[in-house]
Amino acid sequence: MNTAGTNPGDVQKEESMLLQKAMINANYDALSTAHEDGNKISSTFVPGNLNELLMCFDFVRNLPEINALQAGMRKKSGAYIMEAERSGHSEDVCTYVKTDLGMMSKGQVGPNGKPLPTPDVLLLSYTGCFTFMKWFELVRDEYGCETAMLHVPYQADGKITDNMRQFVVMQLKEHVIPTLERVSGIKFDIDRLREYLGESAKAEDNLVWVLQSAKNKPSPIDAYFGAIYYCGPIFSAFRGSKETTAYYKALRREVEDRIEKGLGPVTPEGLLDEERIRLVVEGPPNWTHFRDFWKMFYDEGVVVVASSYTKVGGVYDFGFRHDPEHPLETLADYCLGCYTNHSLPSRVDMLCNYMDEYEADGFLVNSIKSCNSFSAGQLLMLREIEERTGKPAGFIETDLVDPRYFSPANVKNRLESYFQMIEQKRLRPEDRSAA
């Protein structure tokens, strides 16, 4: 055990985590009563999430992926998935989708125990994941609500072309904004959008600072398990709000404090007191056994110093910020820049950069059965990154929210072998001299 400071059974939470929890709970409560309160509800996805735009129309924002992962963490997703499979959905397809559909057929009860009302509009931001398109066709089929489609072209050649940007902007102008105006009954105000985008940029600055704090040794954060919490507000229903700006200021203060004291990351069992291995991780986490999964790392003194999953709702650490001066263009660039909208060579470059900049000892892929957008090609990425960096790479397989695909003993065995391999490699004379 490499953690200190808590009694068995206690879960250590950072101040910012409590702040975030309050934000999430308030949003679920707002969703539950939205229609009684005279508000409209939008549903959209995390990648390509146009939260600032939705705020311009006073929508209460619902994110089915977040509901699915919440269901996974609360051990409810297994039953939802089986319910969807019973009603004809294939065992082969994305379990986020099936969790959402199963949850709908079981009364759409949110994490607050109250039913979530039918959304008034689906903003189908088709960014970096083909399944999104089918997902919202299925939801639309169930609810019959209006759908605004935003097709975000794929950055296949590692760059955003003018044609891509103009296409997204044209869709926003011609389709998305008019649909949101019609459904909400509120006229679009571009200055209101600029104001929200300005708040987003402030929060993004602090988020990047926090993520990059992992370059310190020891790292004051875990940039995968811990950073998933840090990304929560900015990836979901809150980016662009003043409370989010405040959240990231508070988070930064917490991390600054840990750096000053030379402390490691906070785990559910307290502060990690010894950083033995630094990893870069590719792929989403498993949600059904999130704590058990994390424990397999911190028990071995393993800290994740950079991850790709924390870029899935926006890549900010290479300079992009929402720009209030170019409101629609910046929304386009944001959508186009989300991690899974990048080509495989770009993803490899990004991860190699992390390996170097964050001085990682190894590279690990958590390959997710449900997510072809992430997973297809990861074995080649692994070989490329191993070859380019000379650092050992590891590979495990789990799923997002299907508990049938999380095999704790297998995952633990693989991880322990991998961590041993990293340590063994450190002992080789040629690697020691290279270091």
Partner: protein, 388 residues
């Protein structure tokens, strides 16, 4: 050409996993180039207009031993990318000067990146098509993407692709689509005369033969098929759908027919049937191709359906037009687009009282008995119990 000869020629092309035909074609003229493309849709007219041979790469089928390909993919990814990689890393696709990867799904999309990493000296293009079907929005985007493809191929070929080149190619592909529609119409009218495995082989031949040669082959086949007398069976008429990307083994199609089903429509090799009308040969050729895509192309699970009520309409129209008595959903295992789409299409069919059955396959599926039993039971249930 006699019927047997035509079918044999198509079978030979189908069986040739070394793509020797490409080598022969390239050897017949200096500086010739060939461009591969994955399913579902790329505008082959532009490749042809560049003087190049478009070649459909549809995986390795059930005769390819996939050894290397499995090392690139997890067990839960479909089979076509692993057999395609196998073809490439074993040198079988060396004659291709470039590859186009259409926006079919995340797996094919990511395969484009794998190609970039593995074959940096080849032209690799992920070909994005719009999911916005407004001519002034999606149409404008798509026309520019077509122009980009035109520029890339012109650079590769070392010569300009003129508007007249494009118009001439469009005309040839219009003829080809008309020939294919004639073939499909003939099969629908007299399915006993046109076994689906033969239609399939003919369509596959169109994935490698030059378009004009393929058009002639189809006309020859129709004439030859009309000249032979084949037995008429009391089969039920079905539409098979879901096979647009990873291809079924030929044995699967034979099994469906042996089980008592006449296939009267399908979605094999949609690239050849994607556009539902002729593309105009006057005016701006790229805009014409773009407008055709936006306004009259097929509905398939890779395409967004903007209006909820339209979901499944295309399939239902095919059932009605071809007087089908039922639908067989045959989809590749782990195919997200087809399998996610299926419940919506099934719901639309149910609302119309159209019976269906569903199963999965892989391109190398070997056991056909369960499929034969399922298709046979489906055919029997229609014959015995359907209202008609």
């Amino acid at each position: 050409m006699a019927l047997d000869e035509i079918v044999e020629r198509c079978q030979d092309l189908y069986d040739d996993l070394d793509f020797k035909y490409i080598k022969q074609w390239k050897a017949a003229g200096s500086g010739r180039k060939a461009i591969g493309h994955m399913p579902v849709y790329v505008p082959r007219e532009i490749v042809h207009a560049a003087g190049m041979l478009p070649v459909g790469i549809l995986g390795g089928g059930d005769q390819l031993d996939v050894i290397h390909g499995d090392a690139y993919y997890q067990s839960y990814i479909c089979r076509i990318p692993r057999s395609t990689i196998e073809l490439a890393v074993t040198g079988r696709l060396d004659e291709l000067d470039g590859m186009l990867f259409p926006s079919t799904c995340d797996v094919i999309r990511n395969l484009s990146g794998m190609w970039q990493l593995k074959f940096p000296d080849k032209l690799v293009r992920y070909f994005d098509v719009p999911q916005n079907f407004d001519l002034d929005v999606g149409g404008v985007f798509y026309t520019r993407e077509l122009q980009l493809l035109r520029d890339q191929l012109a650079e590769l070929g070392g010569r300009e692709i003129t508007d007249d080149d494009l118009r001439a190619s469009i005309a040839l592909y219009n003829e080809n689509r008309r020939a294919i529609e004639a073939l499909y119409a003939y099969r629908s009218a007299q399915p006993g005369q046109v076994p689906t495995p033969e239609v399939y082989l003919l369509m596959r031949a169109g994935m490698i033969l030059p378009v004009d040669e393929h058009t002639r082959l189809i006309h020859d086949y129709i004439a030859a098929a009309k000249a032979v007398k084949r037995p008429v069976r009391d089969n039920c008429r079905v539409v098979v759908t879901g096979l647009f990307c990873e291809q079924p083994p030929l044995g699967l199609l034979k099994s469906i027919e042996m089980a008592g089903c006449y296939v009267v429509d399908d979605d094999f090799m949609l690239v050849a049937r994607w556009l539902l009308e002729d593309v105009p040969t006057e005016g701006d050729p790229l805009k014409n191709l773009s407008d055709a895509f936006i306004t009259y192309s097929v509905e398939t699970s890779c395409k967004y359906v903007p209006v909820r009520e339209d979901k499944g309409k295309f399939l239902i129209e095919s059932v009605r037009r071809n007087r089908a008595e039922g639908v067989i959903f045959a989809s590749p295992s782990f195919c997200d687009p087809a399998l996610l789409d299926r419940p919506m299409l099934q719901k639309a069919l149910t609302a119309q009282g159209i019976p269906y059955t569903a199963f999965k396959y892989a391109e190398n599926s070997g056991q056909m008995q369960p499929i034969r039993e399922q298709a046979g039971t489906f055919a029997d249930s229609i014959k015995l119990w359907s209202a008609a």
